[in-house]
Symmetry: C2
Subunit: 386 residues, 2 copies
């Protein structure tokens, strides 16, 4: 097991009818900015309920955060925070809204004029930006943003991750019933996003981290068991509750503690989304099978473990088992209604050049747990994903 | 899945050579009381190292905390805290030292003259006792106390649990190498304690909490895999690291979130320890097989799941599978050198009356996840454990 630190102070409130906990969790004297996305929280009444439970506080609203939250949009929220002396941010939505809110939290307390400078830190120290407190109400299970301290923001500089030790939400309310109204495709995206977060911290190099491995396998098995069910029967409470909790657990530091990590899938995926506007999760579903196929030797031990423990594949030649595990994974994504080839999205061989160029521009030339995914390997992965 | 809250702010620092992190984690201007147990931390040099890393702080020491920490002993530490205006407590030891330190933290900030009053709260509210900050250096993997907010203290009133929302350690340093010098029996105890913590949150009633179930199973499988190894080869780093991390994960709220819990084993076990001085973990190893045998109907679904997923027992009559699972569990404990019958410890049929009387005296008349473990059922369990 590798050395690690684990520290996650977010207070999770999980279950039916938990939205009312807002009235206890948000300070009585708070000046609250509620941040949300495209308006579905308005349409389905969640926003109204939220406001009811915040009665007595001064409330401001900021809607319109995009699926890939944009720097320019978020800067408008930063303006409101400064103008109105907001001291509490409440994100109501999915990963994009939560990620965007984290950026607003960090940027509002950063002295510098140009907030884009923050991206150069990666992890922004508390003394550079002490952050405003954040609460979240999760309406889309996928990114785990409700229980971690990072976000991904799109600016002129690209799709960039930003972290802060102070950006953990103070609390997150996860009521699975608030996610019942999601469109099928977004639920499918959430399942795939959670699946890939998990394998990026698990299908790497063996590191004798047995608890972490088994916990990762538990998430994957759960997603496989309940994935189709929660798409087909969105109001099946238990299926949805399991998805919501797995999404949180997949990216809160737990399964990544003491193990090597390989974020190749996300790194290449971000470029595809930035260039072609394809949903984040769909880019991951496209890339993962090809990444495993190309890197089957480096990942052999963990791919065989994955094949056996997650899919029950334990017989046959090594390459056959790996092939089967890759196929089962692809089939699983497809069963959720997610196409897994670049060509399914109209991307041609030509497009691969653009993606590789973008990777080069952003310095993504040594990806993976070993740094072996050079531009050449990325190209091979993309070619294999056609 | 049941509704739940999960909030665990302890900062874990895990791995080789992490003791030096003390110099960063304990405030420079702290007045520190170091609490420890019977002196092995002195003998093996850990205490000296700790003091080196605390250089610059005012340091006081309090040794002699017993394996079952005594109220009267701890009150002496409370006196020192008051006299010397201590503002940081550092527990260096195992569960007893950490539990005791939590009591000192709570009691030192409680206004009332009689600190035994605190036991009546169960969970002591922050306004009743704001607590002193605690750090821990773990030298014995077992109780999970390093990442939770509870402790068990022995006073004239019995062996009683005490909790506080403020009693989570601020940080815990877990260096598996610091546990290499432990006697075999203590390592075996730690494995069994961790195992039982896990099953008390897992072998209950089905609640569709798939992540929690699988994570619990992962802990159990890991303990079975590495238990014997880490006793026989105490300096096998990876085996010991897996034990240390599993011990923490088994009782930090994670696997108990959203599921029914059954603390029968601990409740009866505490009485046996109080009456006969038998090691805590050994009382658990004695009771668990008999509890499952007596309550096989109520726990049938989860016992079968346990049999299949943890021990690979999936064929045969229901009762046969449960019998086999119980036998495998008992064999596992015995393989670690832990006897699993009351009679092995010299307790006679007579003694059972005393244990049942003690349970009655302490109001333990409706134990388990369903409250069905009456004194009569407890007696049956004890008789089955002869």
């Amino acid at each position: 097991m590798l050395n690690f630190e684990f520290h996650n102070p977010t207070h999770i409130i999980f279950g039916k009818d938990t939205l009312k906990e807002l009235s206890k969790q948000v300070p009585q004297d708070a000046k609250v900015l509620i941040l949300y996305g495209g308006g579905s929280v308005k349409r389905f009444g969640t926003l109204d309920q939220v406001k009811t439970y915040l009665e007595g506080r001064q409330i401001f609203e900021f809607g319109g955060i995009e699926p890939n939250p944009q720097y320019d949009t978020l800067m408008k929220a930063v303006e409101i925070v400064k103008q109105e002396k907001i001291n509490f941010l409440l994100a109501v939505g999915g990963g994009s809204v939560m990620d965007g809110t984290k950026f607003v939290s960090i940027a509002s307390t950063y002295e510098g004029e140009n907030k884009e400078e923050l991206f150069s830190y990666g992890t922004v120290p508390a003394e550079v930006a002490p952050c405003l407190p954040i609460g979240t109400v999760v309406t889309l299970p996928a990114t785990g943003s409700e229980m971690n301290n990072g976000g991904v923001i799109t600016s002129r500089l690209g799709k960039l991750a930003i972290f802060s030790p102070k950006a953990f939400p103070v609390f997150s309310i996860l009521d699975p019933e608030l996610t019942y109204t999601l469109p099928e495709t977004q639920v499918a995206n959430g399942i795939v996003d959670t699946f890939i977060h998990t394998v990026e911290q698990y299908v790497t190099l063996p590191s004798e981290a047995r608890f972490q491995d088994r916990t990762a396998e538990g998430i994957l098995q759960t997603l496989i068991e309940i994935g189709k069910t929660t798409i087909d029967n969105p109001t099946d409470y238990d299926a949805r509750a399991n998805l919501v909790w797995c999404a949180t657990m997949a990216l809160n530091g737990l399964i990544g503690a003491g193990v090597p990590q390989d974020w190749t899938t996300h790194s290449i995926g971000h470029e595809i989304t930035a260039l072609y506007g394809i949903d984040h999760a769909k880019t991951l579903a496209i890339l993962q099978p090809s990444i495993w196929n190309v890197r089957r030797e480096q990942k052999q031990a963990k791919l065989l473990q994955y094949a056996e423990r997650v899919w029950g594949i334990s017989e046959g030649e090594i390459d056959t088992r790996i092939d089967q595990a890759i196929k089962r994974t692809r089939d699983f994504f497809e069963s959720l209604g997610i196409a897994t080839h670049l060509s399914d999205y109209g991307i041609t061989e030509e497009g691969i050049n653009d993606i590789v160029d973008a990777l080069e521009r952003h310095g993504m030339t040594q990806l993976s747990e070993t740094g072996e995914v050079t531009l050449e390997v990325s190209r091979k992965i993309l070619e294999g994903a056609m």
